[in-house]
């Protein structure tokens, strides 16, 4: 049997492009209300996708004059979506820099109980001054410090998720035995960044543990992804980048004593769909036109870490101002993509903006449903992706097109499920349920995941 494709849909506000909210027929403020998320989640569930995915950051980083931004808190949104759905996975982003492990462990454990084992935690280290300033810091902690903290954070969270043994809840009425205290274990985590006594006050998850999701292109990010990520979200633009990343991260995972199959690699994929190729191209052009130009320029300057006036629309990138990607602050993932693209194709600022299309720096595929399906299967068949994190051009309409026209093709070709075969996110992703490990009896985060 050919390899099955895994698909998540990333609900990025109104869509991945800076001008998505202006697309004809789109409610510009939909992303500020719950119905937007429930509607897309139900559609995704009807199409048997693996999960919905919510990105996040605890600050307004976008220029609010020109476009929507992450607003409603993801774990709160996902709890409501859990109540409105029955099978779709629910992945939310929470920062390891601006949260406490106990709270994060508890919220995902709660989400797993509310949803019957459908939650996933996307661990991010949160770049940017804007977020730092909402938590009493002047600037983001150093990149290496953020990643060291993230690694310890995940370790502590996983110890907490292992507080309750699977059969700790006894519930024997005649003997008054509700839970067996001998099967509820303290965490006693002590490290450079955290001291967490535990135990967590939530019974073990229906899927063992929530799924850990990680993205990260920097050297530190890859190391963390390979060590703890069960789903790895990448931003590869080209086949070559995707192949290099896929092989590297799986090899690193194996190096940590994990199995290659226990790591599901899903590059981001922005889709622009038309019933003909020409129609898709026209849609793509319209989306580029709808990006407010002031916004595009300001944003690129911020992302590259250069002053706004250093960018001239019809000139080259200011190479003398650009640092090596691993030394740059901010989001290195985007930086590498943008700089790599401009360098490879010798693009002017205007051309680069057009290529990025106000997108988040992920690969954009424009075409007919057949072409989109081909593009998806191409990378999966080449063994450089296990599926994709879909970033539709416009929400919900671009996702509706994907579900109505691309998913049936993948299903007809026998490459995508027509019914759910499990009830948990871990099950959808083909990930094994981790064995329970008593905290302190071994490093939970280093444990081999099937």
């Amino acid at each position: 049997m050919s390899r099955q494709v895994h698909l998540n849909v990333n609900i990025l506000n109104s869509g991945v492009f800076g001008g998505s909210w202006r697309f004809p027929g789109t409610d510009p403020l939909a992303a500020f209300g719950l119905e937007h998320y429930i509607g897309i989640a139900r559609k995704a569930e009807a199409a048997r996708l693996d999960a919905i995915f919510l990105a996040d950051g605890p600050a307004i980083r976008e220029d609010l004059r020109y476009r929507p931004f992450n607003s409603l808190e993801p774990s709160v949104v996902l709890a409501a979506v859990a109540a409105a759905t029955s099978a779709i996975g629910l992945i939310g982003t929470l920062s390891s820099t601006y949260n406490d492990p106990y709270d994060v462990a508890r919220r995902f454990a709660t989400l797993d109980q509310l949803s019957g084992g459908r939650s996933g935690w996307n661990v991010v280290t949160t770049a940017g001054k804007e977020s730092a300033r909402n938590f009493g810091f002047d600037d983001e902690p150093d990149h290496a410090v953020r990643y060291a903290r993230a690694a310890e954070f995940v370790e502590a969270v996983r110890k907490l998720w292992n507080s309750w043994e699977p059969d700790a809840l006894v519930g024997d009425k005649p003997t008054w035995r509700f839970a067996d205290p001998d099967k509820i274990h303290s965490t006693d985590h002590h490290g450079p960044h955290f001291d967490v006594a535990g135990p967590l006050n939530v019974p073990r998850s229906p899927q063992g543990e929530p799924v850990v999701v990680q993205a990260g292109a920097s050297t530190d990010g890859r190391a963390l992804a390979a060590r703890v990520g069960e789903v790895i979200f990448t931003a590869a633009q080209t086949e070559q980048e995707a192949a290099e990343y896929y092989r590297d991260v799986k090899a690193r995972a194996v190096g940590y004593g994990r199995s290659a199959e226990g790591v599901v690699v899903l590059p981001g994929l922005s889709t622009v769909i038309g019933s003909t190729e020409a129609e898709a191209q026209r849609r793509r052009e319209l989306l580029a036109e709808l990006v407010p130009p002031e916004y595009a320029l300001t944003r690129l300057a911020g992302q590259l870490g250069v002053p706004e006036d250093a960018l001239v629309l019809d000139g080259p990138l200011p190479w003398h101002l650009l640092a090596d990607a691993d030394e740059a602050g901010g989001s290195q993932t985007f930086y590498k993509i943008a700089v790599g693209l401009a360098q490879r194709e010798n693009l002017t600022v205007r051309q680069l903006l057009r290529r990025l299309g106000g997108g988040a720096g992920h690969r954009i595929v424009t075409g007919t449903p057949e072409q989109i399906a081909d593009a998806i299967l191409d990378w999966v068949d080449k063994g450089i992706a296990d599926g994709f994190n879909l970033m539709p051009d416009v929400l919900p309409s671009g996702f509706d097109d994907f579900v109505d026209h691309v998913v049936p093709i993948l299903q007809r070709r026998g490459r995508f499920r027509t019914e759910y075969e499990s009830t948990t996110l871990r099950g959808h992703l083909g990930l094994a349920v981790p064995a329970h490990t008593v905290p302190g009896s071994g490093d939970a985060a280093d444990r081999v995941v099937a």
């Binding site: 909210w21 202006r22 789109t26 510009p28 500020f32 209300g33 719950l34 429930i38 605890p58 600050a59 609010l64 004059r65 020109y66 476009r67 931004f69 992450n70 607003s71 409603l72 808190e73 774990s75 709160v76 949104v77 709890a79 409501a80 859990a82 109540a83 601006y98 406490d100 106990y102 709270d103 508890r106 919220r107 709660t110 109980q113 509310l114 804007e130 300033r133 909402n134 938590f135 009493g136 809840l169 519930g171 009425k173 008054w176 035995r177 509700f178 839970a179 067996d180 205290p181 955290f194 001291d195 967490v196 006594a197 535990g198 135990p199 967590l200 006050n201 939530v202 709808l290 407010p292």
Partner: protein, 442 residues
């Protein structure tokens, strides 16, 4: 001070299987009810059927050792209430969250997100957390003293209000033609620098459909009362006797007025555990059955002794509480309000320990009787001006709440002192509280 708002108000305390430690032994409940969304959905549906104002979810972020004998705090209440927002339309949703162990930006954001998800039905029950084991889950070895905890809570709430006011009501534009998404002149950064917190803002969540989520508070220590007078819009404090309750209400409203607040804009809703049956005798028997289900270690007399902070050998069932036990033990770190209220009640009434045991449960007043008797109790207290209503604390969920909604609420309604329909969409509207002005708009 009463007279502006002439209807009763009811919150419901929703604690896992119910407030009684033996609630989970009820034959109708499965042991895992405390982690089942369906259980809470049933409870919420009953409250909404009764047109009650809101559901209040207690919480503490720690595994309580009492889990060996029954359910304890478990699911994160902000997420649980968010899930309940989907299956309900009107009832208010009030999670408890501690100001001691949460970062203000994050908590302000989660509560305001809940408010949007529920269409303006969110409240926040502010607690300051006195449990050292909870603090140790957050790397804190030594919790600050009560004074500092409340000073910190005060700054926390002030900051939270500023964050909730980040967006003016019309700051979001979304004009597709002109490409104007939002008006930065109507988005305000808190730029807060205080004794405990430094937070820039603005919050990335737009203004609440009800102005701001409703602030609820339960503490009744001296510091708790001062905090309530300054900030609380609904107060969930323990009251056993009517006379002290009248006094408490007077003090709170006067203190609020002294701070420039409208004293009529505070809802005082003490806890009430109703035990209802067709006759008084049946109701008593019902309570006895529940008490008899307790494990010997949790026998009511031992629970009372523990609450008072003394060994249970010091209490004799058929004698009043000895006078020497009516003073606060040294180094007792638990809530002071309950202690003060219960000991005063015991002294004022001279009731025996046995009588007291049928008048309180956990930290709250039990009222056992027929629907008429429970309705009378509620009406008497309400007419006295001591309370605006009660926080109903069902001993077993959902059955004790069903008793209240199906048998007591109709009597109160027929007496014209409780609503016959919801008249608004938001928790603030149910409680008869005005929408606060945005503090950034002059």
């Amino acid at each position: 001070m009463i007279g502006v708002d002439r209807t009763l108000h009811f919150l419901v305390n929703v604690g896992s299987a119910g407030y009684h430690p033996a609630a989970w032994l009820d034959p109708a409940l499965t042991p895992d009810a405390f982690i089942r969304l369906e259980h809470y959905q049933r409870v919420a549906a009953v409250a909404e059927r009764g047109l009650l104002d809101g559901l209040l979810f207690p919480d503490i972020p720690v595994q309580q050792p009492s889990i060996a004998r029954g359910p304890a705090a478990t699911l994160d209440p902000v997420l649980l209430t968010s899930a309940l927002a989907v299956s309900t339309e009107r009832v208010g949703l009030i999670p408890t969250a501690t100001s001691t162990l949460n970062l203000p930006y994050n908590l302000a954001r989660r509560i305001l997100s809940l408010d949007h998800v529920s269409g303006g039905r969110a409240g926040w029950n502010v607690v300051t957390t006195f449990e050292p084991n909870a603090a140790r889950n957050f790397g804190i070895e030594h919790l600050p003293e009560r004074d500092e905890r409340y000073r910190r809570a005060g700054e926390y709430v002030e900051l939270t209000k500023k964050l909730w006011d980040s967006w003016e009501d019309d700051a979001l534009i979304g004009d597709q033609a002109s490409a104007r998404f939002a008006d930065p002149d109507k988005v305000h950064a808190a730029q807060h620098r205080g004794e405990f917190f430094t937070v820039a803002g603005p919050l990335n969540v737009t203004r609440s459909p009800q102005g701001r989520p409703v602030l609820v508070q339960a503490g009744s220590s001296a510091q708790g009362k001062a905090f309530a007078a300054a900030h609380a819009e609904a107060i969930y404090a323990t009251q056993f006797g009517l006379e002290p309750a009248v006094q408490f209400a007077g003090e709170i409203r006067a203190a609020a007025a002294a701070l420039g607040r409208d004293p009529a804009q505070i809802r005082i809703l003490p806890g009430l555990v109703p035990v209802i049956a067709g006759t008084t005798a049946e109701a008593s028997a019902k309570f006895d059955t529940l008490q008899a289900r307790l494990h010997p270690d949790s026998a009511p007399v031992r629970a009372l002794a523990r609450w008072l902070g003394y060994p249970d050998e010091d209490l004799a069932l058929d004698a009043p509480v000895p006078e020497r036990l009516l003073t606060l033990p040294e180094n007792r770190i638990g809530p002071q309000g309950f202690f003060a209220s219960l000991t005063r009640y015991a002294a004022d009434t001279g009731h025996t320990v046995r009588q007291l045991l049928s008048e309180f449960l956990g930290g709250h007043r039990v009222v056992i009787g027929t629907p008429e008797q429970v309705a009378d109790h509620i009406e008497t207290w309400w007419r006295s001006g001591a309370v605006d209503g009660f926080t109903v604390i069902p001993a077993v969920l959902p059955s004790y709440l069903e008793d209240f909604v199906d048998h007591v609420v109709p009597i109160l309604r027929s007496r014209g002192i409780f609503r016959a329909d919801y008249t608004g969409q938001t928790l603030r509207s149910h409680l008869g509280l005005r929408e606060p002005a945005n503090s950034f708009v002059r």
